[in-house]
Structures are given as structure tokens and as C-alpha cells.
Point group: C2
Amino acid sequence: MRSPLKPGATIGILGGGQLARMLALAAAPLGLRCHVYTPEENSCALDVVHDATIAAYDDEKALARFAEAVDIVTYEFENVPARTAEILAAHRPVLPDPKVLETTQDRLIEKNFITRLKIATAPFAPVHSATQLAEGLAKVGVPAVLKTRTLGYDGKGQEKIMAAADAGAAWRRLKHVPCILEGFVNFQREVSVIAARSADGNVECFELTENDHRDHILHISRVPAKATPALETEARRVATRIVNAFDYVGVMGIEMFVVKRGREQHVLVNEVAPRVHNSGHWTIDGATVSQFEQHIRAVAGLPLAKPKRLGAKVEMRNLIGDEILSTADYLTQPNTAVHIYGKGKPSPRRKMGHVTRVWPGK
Amino acid sequence: MRSPLKPGATIGILGGGQLARMLALAAAPLGLRCHVYTPEENSCALDVVHDATIAAYDDEKALARFAEAVDIVTYEFENVPARTAEILAAHRPVLPDPKVLETTQDRLIEKNFITRLKIATAPFAPVHSATQLAEGLAKVGVPAVLKTRTLGYDGKGQEKIMAAADAGAAWRRLKHVPCILEGFVNFQREVSVIAARSADGNVECFELTENDHRDHILHISRVPAKATPALETEARRVATRIVNAFDYVGVMGIEMFVVKRGREQHVLVNEVAPRVHNSGHWTIDGATVSQFEQHIRAVAGLPLAKPKRLGAKVEMRNLIGDEILSTADYLTQPNTAVHIYGKGKPSPRRKMGHVTRVWPGK
């Protein structure tokens, strides 16, 4: 076991977006510095750190210098190239372990991994050929969703298939890259568990969060979720089993569907994100510890905190695109925290900020 | 009235200590950048900002360049030299208005100012001569405290006088600089109000805070304070009268003594600090808005938030000197937020960090 980072140590963060920014803001109160590595000069995380490297993810010299300048490395996004992770890992601990990325960068490998843990998912089938597409449709039925195995997010790289006859055209629109066909799940609601795991195997889950999506992008997270204690226990158990199976260190976001089977509710795992997660943003203002601090604690080798909700209920709303222009209104609303990511001009579908309302009380 | 700062604007902060650091951490979620001006290269605020100027407070060229690089200027300490403020104000708005400093930098002017507002203070007398020292002792009695009019803090620049015969020696130890003699107050407890005022005259006070000092340095702040509703109302009214009298913009810390007069409790104002204040640190974790965000909102021309306590009670404990070495313990304690200022090696009597415990519940 590595010894914990001491105040004054530096955490390298790959990526310069809002997640890196909020990680750096959470590291500071623990006395830890952050060094941001990003290919883009105008990355919003640069505003809140002293040390930065602006270089491509395949710039091996810059990566080596960056690794030498920091004590450990973590990342804000799951699409870290394997070679980038390898170069960094040769110099410094990279946490969560990059081997997790091999699984989570590929929807098919991820679904197989989860299935092997005896955790339920939507029905799925690999699509590498026209034959497999037909077999998949026979297995999962319609409606279904065809998704690229890699690089999809916020609804990008996926096509909904309403009738089997449309499947060929859908795959063509995805340029016949390797895909996964997922059966449509008639879910009651979408929820997520933000789980943190420390190197010594301690796991702390935040409270089950209920999520509304709009146009494939997270719109609102609500806590507490509408869920029975039994369902919440099941969701936490599932999340715990997943982070343990990865021997994970850090925070992971696990998205789930709530489905009804007879009179009982159960969860199906939709996808996992090996990083802090948008549906955990409410924890900054609504919990005794944030997901960002919890991630920093985990990768720094510090003990995890036991998260407790503050207030009777909490609601986080994303500000997408032009919605960021309405922050003046939110600043006048009671018990409302405004988070502007500092990304400059808004563009459509871009996450520009979020607001969190905490209702005081027990 | 100036128009509010827009996301992407830059606030210049004079001073690079923990207050500047926490101001910068609070400005980021509002989409505002901070540029720190400090004479010391290893200032802890530098870790959390992109833009910095390392220069002396009398470096007129550096001050002018700094002012040009920012949209407004604020400060973390009350001893900003008058000439420094003047140079900056020629280029950019300086908030709170530096004229406040002329009052608060001098204990005698400050006490006269407060007295003219018909607000009670400890009895006091100016000491510029041996005659005045004798007259002062006759007026305020013993025990008393002799304090330098300027530049004192955390117990520095003051001498306790237990008997009139000791007064001459005490003034000699203070090198016969202009002083103020303050009568000893037999107080029940020390409290403070952290008040914020916006340019349009709106005032929001945080809940009355009870403070324990140890060796003249703030040790623990507790909320709620042990106080009747009447006393809390009086304390808020006093604070409001003071910030209004200054036509103040920003956060001010107002320290008070609670004294008994017959069966009633009243407050006497001890001193005011034209800046965010150590006794308001609990608001970071224990309130719906922090004093730091409230200050940023005020100076940026944004609407103030209405602060509400989170949790049943909150306790903030300073980590002075070697106490910073015990953060590993605090990291394992429930509902406890750890704030390490990143100042490097601890030295005695230096504020190195603080911890805040929030008891969930209503």
C-alpha cells in the first residue's frame, strides 16, 4: 500500500474540463495541488490551478515531464488513450488503474464484465457483421438501440431502431463500426450510484440519485430518489460489487434503470463511468463530502468520508448551452448554488454549468 | 451603479494568504477568475489561481499593470497601504472602498466612528502622552488593555494593565507609539456577526457566531450561539448600522462582547474587520452560501444570497501551528470538513488550517 499524499503534494489530472476543474477545487482544501494536462489552451480547469501542461495526449515527452512533476496521476474522462496511460504509469501511479479503461472504453466488454458478475443489464448482442445484426435483433427484439462499442457519450454514436427493417440503415449511419445492440428497457426511472473505493478496499456510496435525461443529456438529478429501502440496498450492493471487481480506487458513476418485475422493483446496470459523474454534482452543495473530494481522498490514499445528505432534499439541474445565460435568475433563488464552468461562449448541447438547490431541514 | 461582472471577468485580490485562497475558491463556481497580488512567492493563494503578480505593495508599476489586468480589486487584509489603494483606485474600482481602511486601520478612529453611531463599545481613551495615559486610567479603570492604534492583530501590539502603576512600563514596551487604552470588559461571551452588503444597500447577516479565543487567537466558532432572540436581533442591527454607515460593499466581520446589564444581555462592539473573517469560516461547510462567496457576490455586483445554516449545529476549529499535523485524525471523523491552507511547514501561532463539523439535522 502506498503511503498517503502529504499536504503540498501534487495530483496530475488528465483533462481540463469541468470535472477536472471541480476536482482541483476539491483538492485545495486538503492541501493538495493539482497540475492539469490538457491539449486545449482555453480549458476551463486552467483557471483554478497554478501548474499546467498544454500538450497533445500523444506527446510522449510532455507526458513524461508531466509525470515527473506530479506525485500521482488521475483523469477526468474515460477515453484516455491506452498508450498515454502506459507512458504515465511507467513514471507514477495512475489511479484508477488504467486497466479499468480497457473495460469501460468498450460497451461490449463492459456489458460482458457486468454480466459475469451476475448483475442484470439490458439484453445485448455484439454487432460486427450483418449476420450478427440480424441475430441480435432476433435476440433483443425491437425497439432497440444500436451503439458504437467505443467513444459514444451524451447520445452520440447511437441510433434507435424501431423496426427490424430499419436496422441496416442505422448501422450504415454508424459507418459499420463495431457496435452493440441493446434491447429497449421499459424502465420506471433512471438512477445512479456514485461509489468511492479506497486502496484498502473500503467502499462508500452516495445516496441513490434519480436522474432525468433530456435529449440524451442529464437534465436533473434528485435526491432522495423515489425508491424503496430494498431497491436502494440492491443498487448499493450492485455498485459495490462492480467497484470491488475492478479493485477500483477512486469514484465511479454507475447508471442504472429501475424496472418492475411482477410487484418487485429491481435495477439493471446501464453503464459505468470510471470517474466523477455528472449525476454526483449535487454532492458539492448537498452532502457532507462531495464526490470530487471523495475521489481526491481515494487517489491520494486518504480515508474516505462517510457521505450524508444535507437538507431535506436536493436537486441539481444542468445548464446546457444557452441556459447558462439564466444564471442571474438562479443567483436570486433561495438556497441555490450556482456553478459556472467558465467555458466562454455557450454552444448547443454543451454542459456550461449547473445549479443545485438544497432544501434545509431534515 | 456598476453593472455586474460577467462570467470570465477577473477579480484582483490583494494578498496571498488563506483568505485570498478561499475567496478564489469561491469565485470559481461563479465563473469568475482571480488574479492574486502578493509580495511573497510562496503565498498559499497562488496554488488555486492562474494569474498572479509577485511584487511589493509599493511597486507602482506592478500595481498599475495588475489593475489593468483585472476588472475590479478587492483585498484580504485591512492593512493595505493608503498609497497602494490610491494607485489601484485610479485604474479600477477597489471594493470595499479604501476610505473604510482609514477608519479600520486605526483603533482610535474606529472606536470614535462606532461611538458616533450610538453603538456601545468598551470604555476607551487615547494615549499619546503620559498625561493622557494617566487620564485614561482614571476614566476606564483597571484592569485595562493598552493597544497600539495601528497594525495590531491576534494579540500583537497590546499589553494588559492590571494595576495603574504598571501602565508606564506597558506603554514603554509598546515603544511609546500612539495607543488606545481600553477598559476591561467583564463579558459573558464573545460573538461575531459576518455581514455582507451589496452596492444597492442590501444587507445579509450570517447567524450570530459564538467564538472562543485561546492566547488571543480564535480557537473555536460555534453556531448557533448561546443567545436569546433579542440579543441576536440587537447584534444584527448593530452590524447592519455599521456597514450602512460605511456605505460598505463586501463582507465585514464585526466582533462583539456579550455583557449583562441587570437582567438583560447586550452587545458591545470590540472591533470590525473590513474583510472576510476567521469567525465566518464555518459558513463554507455549514451554510447555504459561504462568507467568501457572499463577498465575491457583493464586490462583483451580483445579488447577495440569503444565508441559511445547514445542519443542527456547526463547529469550526482553527488548526494553529503544529495542530495541522493532526489532520489525518480529522479526516476520519464524521461530518467533518478539513481545510488545509497549504502554507508548508507549521510555525507557532500561525493559522495553518481549520476543520468544520456539521451535525446533520434541523
